[in-house]
């Protein structure tokens, strides 16, 4: 097995493998190589390395150095900790050794005396090399090793070694971890009773207690870092261990950002002309001003631009502060200004006015002084331009504006440059998680230098390289690293060379106990001072020699502008083939390039599918197909990277795309070369018909063709899933099951006769089974059947090879439409699974209505839908099942992308998703429903007592209760009145159950959905989880502020938005569908009667004849919603018997002696918490 792997590519020479490894790991590899050599194996595998690691402490003690034995103990120690308690440690380790020994014995030894490339050393096997590469990549991602990597680079730079090797040196731990992933190794571990996962985990996890391994030099250091927090080792350390090497200085650096602010102030000061006087604004402005003052005072020039080094800062803050106290002495100001005049002769002076607040808030009598000061300053600024600056700060913008309003145009006179200061230090004082004591020893310059640990980076990172050009920078870094090397007597430094970086933090904490912290500080201080000196030297050199100012911007190249498929007009078919650079699509996570060539898919797949339909056993075609499939698998593998990170790409979608690509190999795009393509198809058909005489008859008999197509679709569907051709008979029987049973025909009979005699009077049967399945809307169903058969007949209506069907469902009865869609998908494509159902009116993420009808639709997978675009959901569905019924509701509400995709789909037969990937809709049936027409609905149902679809759709599942009502006059008459108002009662005069008539309803008489909506609103505001209304109201006052050209009301706007280009689109789109079917109003009254009857039966059987039951309208709406939206009545009838019947019985029991005999079934003001099984109704009814 190992050899098999090895053969695929050349094994790697040991030397180059070793180059990837750090010292210890290299030694471990060498040991492994030695094992392989001793056993005369052809290659060194992971097994050898592990074996060597296991042997080492016991057997190879002499050969291992100290570090090495420590390293090999990683594995041994981990094994000791994971071993099961049943055996002694030695036993189990021995067993493990033996297992590995046996595994090695099974490996073939090299046949020849000498191996191929490696000379004396058995080269490294590919699997081991892969493990090394893996660990390398893993390590590169880890921050601690990132630092190591940096170090290594620095060292290379220091010694002048120009290393071409850019990889990371793999540490022991990482290598062991990666090797444990090797299946061969983990199998052997398994044999010995270890799970390699456990071993890995043990390696990553620190030993359970320190006491168990008291200062054991063997293993403890490796895990010390985990103890640093005291309880740190308790925390689960996951597979990818993450340390925070920068954490200490992170806090230090980030908490001020002071240097950055100083630099910015300096930048403004050093400008040539323009606004050169900084005005700091922001909460952190005071600190920034102070930082800057300190920097100047301490001559901390490194952070300031060259031009202004040597400036002085004169603060007149105190003077200004005295303004506000009213004790202002002009003489003092004058004196100071006189001084300023003198000082201005020097390199440069910055006058710090300080907080503008002092100025703004000073009393009226001081106004004059203030003016005086300002004008004097203005004068001075003019005189000493370029050498005198003013700076001030203000915590808020408002203060600054006040100041400006007192001194108009001063911002121009003074050339003020606003500098927003956003970083705040004060807030962080308490929030630094690290104890400061530890930091102090590290950060002598109070954050100026990050830490000693990073001191090697000082040269390149800390100082602003603006002061040096690259050449000088390199030289400087070189010298710096030499300096740092010489400094290795420092405690930290010494440690650093031998220990991995992430250890240092922990180590030095420990060291602090033993060493005088001040000592370390001094060392570091010296070091930093030296490096500072060095830096300044090179800065100077650079300035003199190169006169560089690296801030100059280089000319900017243009970025290629990528065009997206979706931006291309769908009308232009030819151009919808977009070629894009693969790297482009890769970077964005899109896979646009995949769409190339799909243009031809329709045609190609058609030409293949046809022969398959007619004669699936046609030998010359089948192998071909298989070959193509395998090809597509290869492609799929190649394509995978492009799909990574793409949520919408399911494995199956990839398959389908890849398949498309292969099939699309036919060279001609559809639009360009119609003629040759036609010929191809024709010749195909000819070929087939010549092979299969019965085709002729089939062609003559129209209905036969239809059936053939139905079967064909399912076959292909199956093939698409399984990847190999199947017996069409089998799949046809699947399809026709429903139909066959309805005709009481055995499926066998149907299937056996299909190829020869396909006369099934398919239209009629199809129509009939569709009606059976839907159970209502007969006219519509007939129209649908006709439309579908017409489309199947008229194949070329959309151009050749297009078999997609587009139907518009108009009118009411939302559930009926849905039912038709379900039935179609069952009848035509064999299963409900092929139905893609999406309501385009929902904006995802927006709380969906909790109505019964909506909940009926919500399935588990809706959670997966969230956060995805509708267009991608449709595309995803199409990619998974190309033989599908796509049922789109409220297409008028479709967003822009869906509109575009639909248009393109109906034009070209490809449905593009949001990334531009296209999916064939060749065998899909699109059913589109359009917004509910409420007005029409209302107009038809003029009778106030009838139910409207709108209210039924909105019905929510309220908790119900039954209450007993005294035989009051109004109520006693109500049976009669209800009998009058309700047809149902008229018919069944014996009924004791009746619906509460609207007139006696406690709610508004008007039952228009207006009322209902307000009701719903009041309800929903009580519940926290449906919030839209409540919060949208908040919008109103905000929007009102907007001027007229903007929008006043968000809802009207939304309509604006959707209608901005929807209207013409809807019109254009509706013109292109194959057929429009009108649905009629669903007869809710009949259903209501039906329900009343059912309840009546239950009622009478439980309570007897002396009671009456009045059903609240809301309850009836709820029941109607359930009955209407659920597919079968069983659960509902069950509910009547179980839940309702039980309640009636309880009621009877409770009120056996009461004279009250009218029961009321009403809704409570709370949603049902617990549903009855199988139906969205309460599991129990409250009684009172």
């Amino acid at each position: 097995m190992v050899r098999g792997r090895g053969r695929k590519g050349m094994p790697t020479p040991v030397s180059s493998a070793r180059a990837c490894l750090a010292a210890e790991a290299g030694v471990a590899l060498d040991e492994g190589v030695a094992v392989a050599r001793r056993r005369a194996h052809a290659q060194t595998t992971s097994l050898h390395v592990v074996y060597a690691l296991l042997l080492q402490p016991a057997g190879g003690g002499g050969s291992g150095s100290g570090a090495q034995s420590a390293s090999s103990s990683i594995l041994r120690d981990a094994l000791l900790r994971v071993r099961s308690v049943a055996y002694s440690a030695r036993m189990q380790l021995r067993a493990l050794e033996r297992c590995f020994g046996m595994a090695l014995d099974r490996l073939p030894s090299s046949s020849g005396g000498q191996r191929e490339g490696g000379g004396d050393e058995p080269p490294v096997s590919n699997s081991l090399m892969a493990a090394i590469k893996r660990s390398q990549a893993n390590q590169r991602r880890n921050p601690e090793s990132f630092h190591l990597y940096q170090q290594q680079q620095q060292q290379n730079a220091a010694t002048g070694v120009v290393s071409t090797f850019s990889g990371v040196k793999v540490e022991m731990q990482q290598m062991v971890l990666a090797i444990l992933d090797d299946p061969i190794v983990s199998r052997v571990f398994g044999d010995a009773g270890f799970r390699s996962v456990d071993v890995k985990f043990a390696i990553l996890r620190p030993p359970p207690t320190i006491l168990r391994f008291p200062r054991a030099a063997k293993c403890a250091p490796l895990f010390l870092c985990n103890f640093s927090a005291g309880d740190g080792f308790e925390a689960p350390v996951t597979a990818r261990r993450i340390a925070f090497p920068f954490a200490p200085e992170v806090g230090q650096l980030c908490s001020d950002g002071g240097d950055e602010n100083c630099r910015r102030i300096g930048d403004i000061l050093s400008r040539k002309g323009g606004a050169t006087n900084p005005m700091l604004i922001g909460v952190g402005a005071a600190e920034a001003a102070k930082d800057f003052a300190q920097a100047v005072e301490r001559k901390n020039w490194a952070i300031l631009p060259l031009e202004i080094r040597g400036i002085e800062l004169v603060s007149i803050e105190k003077l200004v502060a005295e303004f506000s106290t009213g004790r202002c002495e002009l003489s003092a100001v004058d004196a100071r200004l006189m001084e300023l005049e003198k000082e201005a002769a020097m390199p440069g002076v910055v006058v710090n006015i300080g907080d503008l607040k002092e100025m703004v808030e000073c009393k009226a009598e001081c106004d004059e002084h203030e003016r005086c000061l300002i004008s004097d300053l203005t004068r001075l600024l003019e005189v000493y331009q370029g050498r005198l600056w003013v700076m001030a700060w203000s915590a808020t913008y408002e203060t600054y504006m006040k100041f400006l309003s007192r001194h108009p145009l001063l911002d121009k006179d003074w050339n003020l440059q606003l500098l927003p200061i956003t970083s705040v230090r004060s807030g962080m004082g308490s929030s630094l998680p690290r104890p400061p004591s530890m930091m102090e020893s590290f950060v002598p310059f109070g954050g100026f230098f990050p830490t000693a640990c990073e001191s090697k980076d000082i040269g390149s990172s800390v100082s602003p390289p603006a002061s040096r050009c690259e050449l000088c920078n390199d030289k400087y870094e070189e010298e710096l690293s030499i300096l740092l090397k010489g400094q290795s007597s420092s405690v930290c430094e010494k440690k650093k060379d031998t220990l991995p970086f992430w250890l240092q933090k922990a180590n030095t904490t420990g060291l602090n106990n033993e060493y005088n912290a001040a000592q370390a500080k001094d060392d570091n201080g010296l070091l930093n001072a030296k490096s500072m000196e060095l830096k300044n030297k090179w800065n100077e050199v650079c300035r003199q020699l190169h006169n560089c100012h690296t801030r100059k911007t280089v000319n900017y190249p243009e970025i290629p502008c990528t065009t997206y498929t979706s931006s291309i007009s769908y009308k232009n078919r030819a151009s919808s083939k977009v070629t894009e650079k693969p790297e482009d699509s890769q970077t964005l996570g899109n896979s646009l390039s995949i769409s190339v060539g799909t243009q031809t898919v329709t045609m190609a797949s058609q030409s293949i599918s046809l022969p398959l339909v007619v004669e699936s056993r046609k030998n010359d075609l089948l192998p071909k197909h298989q070959v193509r499939l395998s090809k597509s698998e290869q492609l799929q593998r190649v394509d995978l990277p492009y799909h990574q990170g793409d949520e919408h790409a399911s494995p199956s979608s990839i398959t389908s795309v890849a398949t498309n690509l292969v099939l699309g190999n036919l060279p001609e795009p559809l639009s360009k070369e119609e003629k040759p393509a036609k010929e191809v198809q024709k010749s195909n058909v000819d070929k087939i018909s010549s092979c299969l005489p019965s085709v002729d008859t089939a062609k003559r008999n129209v209905s036969d063709v239809r059936v053939a197509e139905f079967s064909c679709s399912s076959i292909k569907d199956y093939q698409a899933k399984s990847g190999y051709p199947v017996n069409p008979i089998h799949s046809f029987s699947q399809v026709s099951n429903g139909r066959a049973s309805s005709y009481d025909k055995s499926p066998l009979l149907v299937s056996s006769s299909i190829m020869q005699n396909i006369d099934l009077s398919s239209y009629k049967s199809f129509c009939k089974s569709l009606i059976d399945k839907v159970g209502r809307q007969e006219e519509a169903v007939i129209a649908i059947s006709q439309a579908i058969f017409r489309c199947k007949l008229d194949e070329r209506r959309r151009g050749r090879l297009r078999r997609d069907i587009w139907l518009n469902f108009h009118g009411p009865d939302k559930m009926g439409k849905k039912r038709v869609a379900v039935a179609l998908s069952e009848l035509i494509h064999g299963s409900k699974d092929n139905l893609i159902c999406i309501d385009l009116s929902y904006e995802d993420g927006v709380a969906r209505p909790s109505s019964i009808c909506a909940q009926q639709e919500v399935t588990e997978k809706n959670v997966q839908f969230r956060g995805k675009l509708n267009v991608d959901l449709i595309a995803e569905g199409l990619s998974k099942r190309s033989y599908s019924v796509v049922f789109l509701e409220n297409v008028d509400k479709a967003d822009f992308l869906v509109q575009q995709s639909l248009s393109q789909a109906i034009h070209t037969g490809k449905f593009p998703d949001s990334h531009g990937r296209e999916f064939s809709i060749n065998n899909a049936i699109f059913i589109l429903t359009w917004g509910r027409t409420i007005d029409k609905n209302l107009a038809q149902g003029g009778d106030y007592s009838s139910f409207y679809e709108e209210t039924i759709l909105a019905a929510q599942c309220w908790q119900m209760k039954i209450c007993l009502e005294a035989c009051r006059e109004t109520n006693s008459s109500s049976p009669k009145s209800s009998a009058v108002s309700f047809i149902s009662i008229q018919k069944h005069s014996t009924s004791q159950v009746y619906l509460q008539s609207s007139s006696s309803s406690k709610r508004k008489v008007d039952l228009s959905d207006d009322c209902d909506r307000s009701y719903r609103k009041s309800m929903s505001s009580k519940r926290t989880h449906t919030m839209p209304k409540g919060f949208l109201d908040l919008n109103m006052p905000i929007e009102e502020v907007e001027t007229e050209d903007d929008h006043n009301d968000s809802s009207s706007l939304k309509e604006n938005y959707t209608s901005d280009n929807s209207e013409p689109w809807i019109k254009e789109f509706c013109d292109q569908v194959d057929a429009t079917v009108n649905f009629t109003v669903f007869d809710f009254n009949a259903l209501a009667n039906n329900i009343l009857e059912a309840i009546n039966r239950t009622f009478r059987s439980t309570l007897g004849s002396e009671y009456l039951l009045e059903i609240d309208r809301k309850v009836m709406e709820l029941l109607l919603a359930v009955a209407w939206s659920s597919e079968d009545r069983g659960p509902l009838d069950n509910w009547f018997e179980q839940v309702l019947g039980r309640s009636f019985r309880k009621m009877k029991h409770k009120n056996s002696q009461s004279s009250n005999n009218i029961l009321k079934l009403v809704c409570e003001d709370a949603l049902v918490e617990e549903h009855a099984p199988g139906v969205l109704l309460p599991s129990r009814i409250n009684i009172n």
Binding site: R141, F146, Q150, S166, T238, I242, F244, F246, A247, E249, V250, G251, C254, S255, G257, E260, I281, G282, V283, Y397, P420, I421, T422, V424, G427, M428, S430, S431, P433, S460, V462, A466, E470, L471, D474, T550, Y556, P557, I559, C561, T562, S566, T587, L588, E647, E843, D844, G845, A847, G867, L869, D895, F896, Q900, S914, P1028, E1039, D1046, S1050, Y1057
Partner: protein, 283 residues
């Protein structure tokens, strides 16, 4: 000399071209008007991918990664430079200059909104309008201001991040996404985890140390604050604080969805508002 590939570039000397490459800048779309999409903490430009398709027809979209994003080579993150938001603003402005953009819409999310605000203060002429999603000028509470985080909470967050970054990500991502949208949680976890932990910690410290309240008035460009009804990072009051204090004409748009990342969890809802905000501006 060039062979010294230690990954560190001259901090202030890096040209626009280099930056464009470093930060994966892309310009897509066919429209005239330029829209810059700037992602927030813990994501990268891929966060916009669900929103992006809606704008490609009508706008030219500039996408880039913040230097702290997981998709940017961590070597480019200079701990000494990105200590304040200004460095990020520098990056943004350099990118726009390099692309030759002289007028654009800015759409920022989370901590990018701060960048946008500062950029608009520094270069008012550059920005037609700022569209700020989940914006906050200050995350920490103080006497008069409710930013959503007590300093102690913030300490806890950091302690958690330091203790175990992965576990923190696992816990934080669903919290931030807010809504029950597994795909969005997955996506956010992915990008969040892509960030190198130390950088992530560093950046969040920087963000939490930033306070823009004093400078909001300096913004002159009109702003649209897009705020979801429930956002763990930004309380609703912050949106109104921004509205009251931003210098330009400011509108607050409340999205009837939950979570800090509506572009991941509820793209369609966000798109409506975004398009409206972009279209409402005449020019």
């Amino acid at each position: 000399m060039v062979g010294n590939s230690n990954g560190r570039t001259g901090v202030y000397g890096r040209g626009g071209a280099k930056l464009l490459e470093m930060l994966n800048v892309r310009m897509v779309g066919a429209g005239e008007r330029v829209v810059v999409l700037s992602h927030g903490f813990g994501t990268d430009q891929s966060a916009w991918s669900r929103v992006l398709p809606y704008f490609l027809r009508d706008y030219r979209i500039v996408l880039y990664d913040l230097v702290c994003a997981g998709s940017v080579n961590p070597d480019h993150f200079e701990f000494t430079r990105y200590t304040t938001l200004d460095a990020y603003v520098d990056d943004l402005l350099t990118i726009l200059d390099a692309l030759g953009v002289d007028r654009c819409f800015f759409v920022g999310h989370s901590f990018s909104t701060m960048i946008g605000i500062l950029a608009a203060i520094r270069r008012p002429e550059l920005f037609v309008k700022l569209i700020l999603i989940g914006a906050s000028p200050r995350f920490l509470n103080d006497d008069k201001y409710h930013g959503g985080f007590e300093p102690e909470e913030f300490d806890e967050v950091f302690a958690a991040m330091e203790a175990n970054y992965e576990a923190w990500v696992q816990g934080f991502a669903p919290l931030a996404v807010g809504a029950d949208v597994p795909a969005a949680v997955r996506e956010f976890s992915r990008t969040l985890f892509n960030m190198r932990p130390d950088i992530s910690l560093f950046v969040s410290r920087m963000v939490f140390n930033s306070d823009l309240r004093g400078v909001l008035g300096l913004v002159t460009a009109p702003c649209v604050i897009i705020q979801t009804t429930k956002d763990v990072s930004v309380p609703l009051s912050v949106a109104f604080y921004l509205k009251d204090h931003l210098g330009g004409r400011t509108t607050v748009e409340l999205l009837p969805v939950e979570g800090h990342l509506p572009h991941l969890s509820a793209p369609a809802a966000l798109v409506h508002v975004l398009r409206r905000s972009l279209a409402a501006c005449g020019d």
